[in-house]
Amino acid sequence: MSAAPRPRDPYRWWRAALGLYTTLFLGFLYLPLVVIVVLSFNNSTSTGFPLTGATTKWYGQVLNSADLLAAFGNSMAVGATAAAISTALALLLALGFRHGVRGQSLVLNLILLPVLLPGIVGGIVLLIFFGYMEVRSDLWTTVLVAHVNYVLPFAFLTLYPRVHGFDRALEEAAMDLGATPMQVFRHVVWPILMPAVVATALFAFTLSFDEFIRTVFVSGHDRTIPVLFWLLVVDEIAPYLPAMAVVIILVSTALSLAAFAIGRRADRAT
């Protein structure tokens, strides 16, 4: 007794085409990353193919380079500070917007407009502005201002929906139970919004950490990781560049994943 012939799948060509498309799509996305990772272990003094053997010495060089460590320190410090400042400003704005401020939509548009401004224009504008104001380019003045300026709209866009969706009845309930406005914030609003605030700060940090085009105009002698990277590419195709890229990818990915995970917790909480 033989099994009944299975009906032919009318979509089999579509399925095959979709599989091929998906493979190509993911290939375009991830192949360059795979190549970088492979090259970072390539024992060759010139960056690129052919592969001439495996080594981890480039990672050793990267992790012991004074320039790189200085730039890494700069990026971490400016990123943390810019994230803190822009998240705090975004939180205050979002909290204020719930009460219906006068001219609210104008303010909202003014905050979001810089997102549409091309980065290179933003960089030139900042350069001219700081030149006019006679501010010397330096990490803690021009770079920090440029980063807060760039990150704030994104921080606001991330945080506002969470703050806006906060159930006002919870605040009323707290007030009804005798909490003053300060106590309402401390015991109800802050604990519930905190995961969203942390996720926003991490997101802001990764944006600052990756920011290049504005920074390169205003960084002066101080270098952040992307600026250093660019100088290394322009000055010399250093053999340890792929290893450096991998380190940066790892740091950025870890931070983004953390932000994502905390953001999901925040969504469940509110």
């Binding site: 919870l170 009804d176 139970l177 909490a179 106590q183 015991h187 109800v188 604990p191 909480a269």
Partner: protein, 368 residues
């Protein structure tokens, strides 16, 4: 001092609403509302959505500011007090339990905000959890509780503060019928046990009837009638109350005379004659609205009684515990009767000739 102010000062009145109005632009959410809520009573604000009952409740709690009038709690004006300074606690429509706190911390929130001693807080929280029968649930998170349990947490969270007035904003609205009836009983039990003053907002007349010592019926921002459930039901003050609470036959009629025994006579345009409670301020020939509750109208098969209004059954509707007969009286008036399912005559069919009668004491004449 006017009489009502003396009464408020003497402590018989928990909440005094004095000519309170609330305008949003040209729309009046509350219009000249005055009423006294007595200490220790279960008082309901009843009306359709948008009638102003929630606005009035939130004004007592301090979440809305009236644009006119005054609100006194225990004889003291509270309009200048913020919600956290008022001796009231509210149970919110969607409960508004704090999602980041466990049951115990939710209940103890009010005491903590007032800086109560830690051991004292723990003791009072446990006590009030026992009161609402949740003593085993102190360590739960609020999202691990059933709907009924969440209701009880909300009650405990408010009651632990020992409020002068407990405000309830339709907290049972989201529950299914069985649980709702159970929580109604629970609320009533708590209120009696504590002797507390409850102000309960609802659009459900059955709920208001079953739970309240007194009811204020509201519509379009105005107070329609204040009274016990029986007064509201048996002696509606106007057409709105007569139709919003229960089911009634409403017949336009004109007074024709007043009798020695206190009843008045009226005749409708289609010739139906009524005897009923004489309206206090009506002239001898005034137009009135005769109100007769469906269940006060009796239907008899023609061959079983001698007297009554001759009519025929237009429609017979089976409603479970009762039967509804829609009848056309001689002259054309349509009258509806609700008859208990065990009454003789429940087998009356559509088209049958019947005699209708009712007691004059059950007819209310409204002058409008």
């Amino acid at each position: 001092m006017p009489r009502e102010d003396r009464e408020a000062a003497a402590g018989a009145v928990a909440v005094a609403i004095r000519k309170v109005g609330k305008r949003f632009g040209s729309v009046a959410a509350l219009d000249d509302v005055s009423l006294d809520i007595r200490r220790g009573e279960f008082f309901s604000l009843l009306g359709p959505s948008g009638c102003g009952k929630t606005t009035l409740l939130r004004s007592i709690g301090g979440f809305e500011a009236p644009t006119e009038g005054d609100i006194l709690i225990e004889g003291r004006s509270v309009l200048h007090l913020a919600p956290y300074e008022r001796p009231t606690n509210m149970i919110f429509q969607h409960l508004a339990l704090f999602p980041h706190l466990g049951v115990r911390d939710n209940v103890g929130f009010g005491l903590r905000m007032k800086g109560a001693d830690r051991a004292e807080t723990a003791r009072r929280v446990q006590e009030v959890l026992r009161l609402v029968r949740l003593e085993e649930y102190g360590d739960r998170r609020v999202d691990q509780l059933s709907g009924g349990q969440r209701q009880r947490v909300a009650m405990a969270r408010a009651l632990v503060n020992d409020p002068a007035v407990l405000l309830l904003d339709e907290p049972l609205g989201a529950l299914d019928l069985q649980l709702r009836l159970q929580m109604q009983e629970e609320l009533r039990r708590l209120q009696r046990q504590l002797g507390a003053t409850f102000v309960f907002v609802t659009h459900d007349q059955g709920e208001a009837m079953a739970m309240s010592d007194r009811i204020a019926v509201m519509n379009a921002g105005r107070l329609q009638q204040v009274g016990t459930p029986a007064e509201i039901y048996e002696r509606p003050a106007n057409r709105f109350v007569a139709t919003f609470v229960g089911h009634a036959n409403l017949v336009e009629a004109r007074l024709t005379g007043r009798r020695q025994d206190g009843f008045a006579e009226a005749v409708s345009a289609d010739g139906l004659a009524f005897l009923g409670q004489a309206p206090p301020h009506a002239g001898a020939r005034d137009a009135v609205l005769a109100v007769l509750r469906h269940e006060k109208l009796r239907v008899h098969p023609s061959d079983t009684v001698q007297a009554g209004v001759a009519a025929s059954v237009v429609e017979r509707t089976y409603m479970g515990s009762s039967l509804r007969f829609t009848c056309r009286a001689q002259g054309g008036a349509i009258l509806t009767a609700d008859t208990p399912n065990d009454m003789p005559g429940r087998d009356i069919a559509e088209g049958a000739a019947v005699l209708l009668d009712w007691s004059p004491a059950d007819v209310v004449f409204l002058t409008e």
